[in-house]
């Protein structure tokens, strides 16, 4: 093991090739994963922010909050289902925000809500709202009044919230009456009647099974469909396809990393076959030599991961804002584990050659 470590220290140039290729592959994996996370996050942030475990849509909306309408009588019926502790309305309107002093418009997702969730406190009074911190990039500041849409519906920003963007539009959380006014005045074809919401969030009473409560709501209330939050996320159009396609691409990239390591160590092993024969002749076991090889693969991959991560962070700062890229700690950990596993498997391909080295060949000058 010491020998493997010393070789790395004394002959670093020998490992530059594999290191460079693996660095680029690590960067590629992080970018791919970062784009996937950003795409999924922008579609699912609204649902993931909810503390209620169930969401109810109109049954013919196919889980699309834009097209869903749950009227006041359905809301009452949902609230009356045994096991429901709280049923609160939720609605969204996508509008342009006119920010004072800025010529450019901000893309705003206006959420009308009745109850607090993980990220947002209880609804403010009419005409006020909590803005997602991402809107700071559009020049929004605390105390400012943003005018929404062509009807210029005013909303005063009274606080910040985090991670509640939806469809890559900055979240603005307002009370139901402000949301309804903004929606009806700006998008009259999507207008909603008083008491109507686009979805209902349901918090069950303690001890109630969430899945059973969803079935009970479906049965008791005609025209609605209750989903758990994970089911609702899976049902968002495109999310499953995006995940499946990107996961396949990431899987193939891990395979490429494994092959690169295998190729590199195959070349390296062939190059020093004579030296390995000498080591075996003086008592080194195949296991020791193989362990040294694996250690080198592990260290090179770790170095490549570190460099690739730095490059990914730099890239995230310089790429155009239009490119969705979200680099989370979880993504770094996933990439590191996958890449190290691929590298160890790849390096193991040279084990057979090491085992087959005959110590006697050291005398013959292999």
């Amino acid at each position: 093991m010491k020998l493997a470590w010393r070789e790395l220290i004394r002959r670093p140039r020998r490992f530059v090739v594999a290191g460079a290729a693996l660095t680029l592959i690590a960067l590629l994996l992080l970018v791919l994963g970062g784009i996937l996370d950003a795409l999924i996050g922008s579609s699912t942030g609204l649902l993931e922010a909810q503390s209620a475990p169930l969401i109810v849509y109109s049954s013919d909306s196919k889980g699309s909050i834009d097209r869903s309408r749950v009227d006041a009588s359905q809301m009452e019926a949902i609230a009356a289902v045994p096991g429901v502790r709280v049923a609160s309305g939720l609605g969204v309107a996508f509008l342009a925000g006119h920010v004072p002093g800025r010529a450019a418009l901000a893309d705003v997702a206006v959420f009308g809500y009745e109850a607090s969730n993980r990220e947002v406190p209880a609804p403010p009074s009419s005409g006020r709202g909590y803005a997602d911190a991402s809107l700071k990039d559009d020049g929004v500041s605390l105390g400012q009044t943003i005018e929404l849409g062509t009807a210029r519906t005013p909303v005063r920003v009274i606080g910040w919230v985090q991670g509640t963007d939806y469809n890559q539009q900055g979240g603005l959380w307002v009370d139901p009456s402000t949301w309804r006014e903004a929606l009806n005045d700006n998008i009259p074809d999507a207008a909603v009647a008083p008491g109507t919401f686009q979805a209902v969030l349901v918090t069950p009473e303690g001890g109630t099974q969430v899945a059973m409560l969803a079935n009970a709501i479906d049965v008791a209330v005609p025209g609605v469909s209750a989903l758990t939050i994970p089911e609702a996320i899976d049902g968002i159009p495109g999310v499953a396809q995006q995940q499946s396609v990107f996961t396949s691409i990431i899987g193939v990239t891990f395979a490429v990393a494994g092959i690169v390591v295998a190729l590199f160590f195959a070349l390296l092993t062939i190059e020093r076959i004579g030296l390995l024969g000498v080591l075996k002749a003086i008592g080194a076991s195949s296991r020791t030599l193989a362990a040294g090889l694996s250690l080198q693969a592990l260290l090179i991959t770790s170095g490549a991961l570190a460099l690739g991560s730095v490059l990914a962070l730099v890239l995230a700062r310089v790429i155009p804002a239009a490119v969705p890229l979200s680099l989370s700690p979880g993504r770094f950990v996933f990439t590191a584990v996958g890449l190290i596993a691929a590298a160890l498997i790849g390096s193991a391909i040279s084990f057979r050659r090491i085992v087959r080295i005959d110590p006697a060949s050291a005398v013959g000058g292999a």
């Binding site: 460079a20 970018v31 013919d60 499946s244 092959i259």
Partner: protein
């Protein structure tokens, strides 16, 4: 030739690994190009393949069809701009549609004034809608319940639409897409949301008068009509939200994949050349010309890349057909494959420049002195 191929045969494992790695990288490049191309086509087709040459948005919409609502006063003002031959409202929305068999599918519907701007331009069979309740569907959705003669029902409201024609490449927002009359679109919007107080068109479609440049006309409309933004069709397609995100994201990923291919191929042949430098020097000393040695190297590069392409292209075709489903149909364009394959071959040859340089610098006289080999270090 025999010399180069014999070496590959004798070092099967090493060359197989390189071919495998390059094949997977080329597969990634081709697969992602197929995805990006298909995604963009199905994302923008509805706007790209309709007849209005100038598209007018509400300025607040920031060039998003879904977000735009054009006011009646703006529609009237656009019609009066000099250079406008014909103009008319275009509506666009996504509805839930019940297909025969009861399946619910999200369906994008464009509504345009029959005979006016906004009609699909790539009709491949059947005819354009001529009466309320008739629609043209995307030909790629014909087998998915949108064939000619089939009736779908938009819910809520249970409004039936009968497919009377099919047009190529008119999908929008990567969904099954229909073109129908504006009156039908208005009826769908009101039936699905009885609370709607008014149905405003998303866009105004404009046909310029003869000899009027669409780009110049778009600029004139933007200047003369308050609160609107007009774009020529190509600019409107390029400006759709998400288009530049898709293009730039895939450009970064593809760029990185190309760099890895070049690096991998280049370094492999460099290492291999350095490892066999003593043998190459000896060959040179016994009469092998530099041209012969370089020719063998280039042949090996071409064989490796050719084999990688031979694996990657069918693999891409297979994966693309597997990845395609009723919701998203990806296709591999032959032109993309040819351009990519040519680029990979040229870049592969370019990547071997380092190895070629080493061969060109071989001095036959070195064969008389012991050589240390070299290799990776």
């Amino acid at each position: 030739v025999r010399f180069a191929l014999a070496e590959i045969r004798r070092a099967k494992f090493r060359f197989a690994l390189l071919i495998g790695a390059v094949a997977l990288l080329v597969f990634l490049i081709l697969f992602q190009q197929a995805l990006a191309g298909s995604l963009l086509g199905q994302f923008t087709g509805g706007l790209q393949r309709q007849s209005a040459m100038v598209i007018v948005y509400n300025a607040d919409a920031r060039r998003s069809v879904d977000a735009s609502r054009v006011l009646p006063s703006q529609i009237a003002a656009v019609a009066k701009v000099p250079g406008v031959e014909l103009s008319g409202p275009i509506g666009e929305a996504t509805f839930s549609a019940r297909l025969r068999g009861g399946e619910l599918k999200e369906t994008t519907v464009f509504g345009y004034e029959l005979g006016g701007p906004g009609a699909p331009t790539t009709l491949s069979s059947g005819r354009l809608p001529a009466a309320p309740g008739e629609a043209v569907a995307s030909s790629s959705d014909a087998s998915g319940g949108y064939g000619i003669g089939q009736t779908i029902t938009v819910v809520p409201g249970d409004t039936p639409l009968t497919i009377v024609g099919l047009a190529d490449g008119i999908q929008f927002n990567v969904q099954p897409t229909l073109f129908t009359s504006y009156a039908t679109f208005d009826r769908l919007a009101r039936a699905t949301n009885p609370s709607a107080t008014e149905v405003l068109p998303n866009l105004v479609g404009v046909e310029p008068a003869a000899d009027v440049d669409p780009i110049a006309l778009a600029n004139t409309i933007t200047e003369q009509v308050r609160g609107v933004e007009a774009l020529d069709r190509a600019a409107a397609v390029a400006a759709l939200p998400g288009v530049s995100s898709i293009q730039q994201s895939f450009a970064i990923i593809l760029g990185l994949a190309f760099v890895v291919v070049v690096l991998l191929t280049g370094f492999f042949f460099l290492i291999l050349t350095v490892q066999k430098l003593p043998s190459l020097t000896l060959l040179s000393a016994v009469g092998a010309t530099g041209r012969f040695l370089l020719g063998n190297l280039l042949l090996q590069v071409v064989v490796v890349i050719g084999a990688a392409l031979a694996i990657a292209i069918p693999l891409t075709a297979l994966s693309v057909s597997t990845a395609s489903d009723a919701a998203f149909t990806a296709t591999v364009e032959p032109r993309t494959v040819i351009v990519t394959a040519t680029a990979i071959v040229l870049l592969g040859i370019a990547s071997a420049l380092g190895a070629m340089r080493r061969i060109a610098k071989i001095d036959p006289a070195d064969a008389t002195s012991p050589l240390t080999g070299g290799g990776l270090g």
